[in-house]
Amino acid sequence: MKPAWSVILLTTLIGAGQGLFLVSFLLAAFRASPGEFSVLSNEVSLGLLAAGLLASFFHLGRPGRAWRAITQWRTSWLSREVIVLPAFMALVLLFEVSGWFLAGAIAAILCVALFFCTGMVYACLKFLQEWATFLTPLNFTLLGIASGVTLSVPLATLAWPQFAGPLALGAFALSGLAWLVRGATFLRNARLRPKSTTASAIGVAHPRIAQTSQGFAGGSYNTREFFHRRPAAIVHAARWTFLVLFFPLPGWLLGWGGGSPAAFWTAFALQFAGLVAERWVFFADARHPQNLYYQAGA
């Protein structure tokens, strides 16, 4: 698939916003955190969620009609995501201004539901074998939570300095876990065998079939939307960008960076860059069966 920047930004930004809200709400729920930390985290979380929502509009051909996407919640994971994201934002805002525990608790439930909806948008497409696994919603959840907790560390240096250390430890552990599960998913996907072949695509049972014409000389939507057209080396480089930037470097900065705000901000910035690379590879790795029909130009 061709990676869509609007969707990459949507899923990475809201993931970090969700993770940040979740950790700050849990700390507030146990009456462990001071109000300033909670307020700051919720504001930053809302900013990330709003930025992600804004990015998603750039994916639409007709953004003015976007409201219609709330209607098919019975069958469409995308529709469910479109409902849960603004509902979650509204409850974070309500929790922020009112401080009502119930609003925060419902927001936390919606936060988890949103991770699941976002993952299922991809995991429900069963012929995209790289996506059609429980690992997809699990990765969206773990990567989002890890990036949000990593962001909470530099925020804590502003509003709750004495707790930055424990948060850094939590960010280290969660980032490591998310990194391991995503790494395992890369290995799983590398072993996949495509169920569809040119033989099943055109229904001719023969081991040797070569396409000599795709029916047109110029490009089409089919040749643009489903191919990333980057050399394998670029995809490999992006994969390693994630593997290095998401955990080893930020993990080192979180644990052995001297505990300065600059080290924590750098840790988050590096990890988020790694997360963007991961999301790019997520799309680039997915081999759409329609590509079997577009193997030869002209």
Binding site: R65, R68, S196, I209, G215, Y293, Y294
Partner: protein, 210 residues
């Protein structure tokens, strides 16, 4: 999502000569019909691109000198379990209850492209001018038009095919010409592995002895 009546195309790969008459007649009719315009970009320039409902591709099967050329017309298969329909967040993508044609309501489509991701066959194209999803309608505006003579209430591609490689009818009526052709010639579905149950079927090439 089985409908009582299921209109579909049955395409005979044994007689298709790859002339692209179905492609051009489809483009001509649907550019001006209810599905139009089908936007082109740079149509007469160096790198043309455009929106089409139907393409004819060519494959070479076997190894020289034992090769066969297969011309392969490709359009929406109007699946009986269309994966593109339930994923649509707006309800713009639907399967018509009375005849099983899979259609897009262009006034409801937000152009998110998710249905195209959900189609394993690549049957859907986002129109770069209209910014909504387009796909074969089986010429829904021809086949139900009572003002046309009955013989012309067929998709434009079927009317244009010079070798009668394209049959059109109700595949749920066992007595229809399409159902008979599927039975007698072993009509098959594309990518059966995904359970989409395409309504369109293809008739294989016949074995010939030299």
């Amino acid at each position: 999502m089985t409908t009582p009546k299921q209109l579909a195309l049955v395409i005979d790969l044994d007689v298709c000569v790859g002339c692209h008459a179905c492609v051009t007649s489809c483009k001509e009719w649907n550019d001006g019909g209810s599905a139009g315009p089908l936007t082109d970009r740079n149509a007469y320039g160096k790198d043309p691109t455009g929106t089409f409902f139907n393409r004819v591709q060519t494959y070479e099967v076997g190894e020289f000198p034992h090769t066969e050329t297969v011309h392969f017309p490709k359009s929406c298969l109007h699946c009986e379990e269309p994966p593109c329909v339930p994923v649509c967040p707006t309800g713009a993508s639907y399967k018509r209850a009375e005849d099983g044609i899979v259609l897009v309501d262009y006034d409801k489509c937000i152009g998110c492209g998710y249905c195209a991701w959900a189609c394993p066959y690549g049957a859907r194209e986002l129109d770069p001018g209209e910014k909504v999803m387009k796909k074969c309608t089986l010429c829904a505006d021809r086949v139900a038009d009572a003002s046309l003579p009955e013989a012309e209430r067929k998709p434009a591609c079927v009317m244009a095919c010079p070798t009668s490689a394209r049959l059109f009818g109700d595949v749920h009526d066992p007595e229809s010409a399409v159902s008979q052709a599927i039975r007698e010639r072993g009509g098959y579905a594309l990518m059966p592995e995904w359970g989409t149950r395409p309504a369109n079927r293809y008739l294989p090439r016949r074995k010939r002895t030299a």
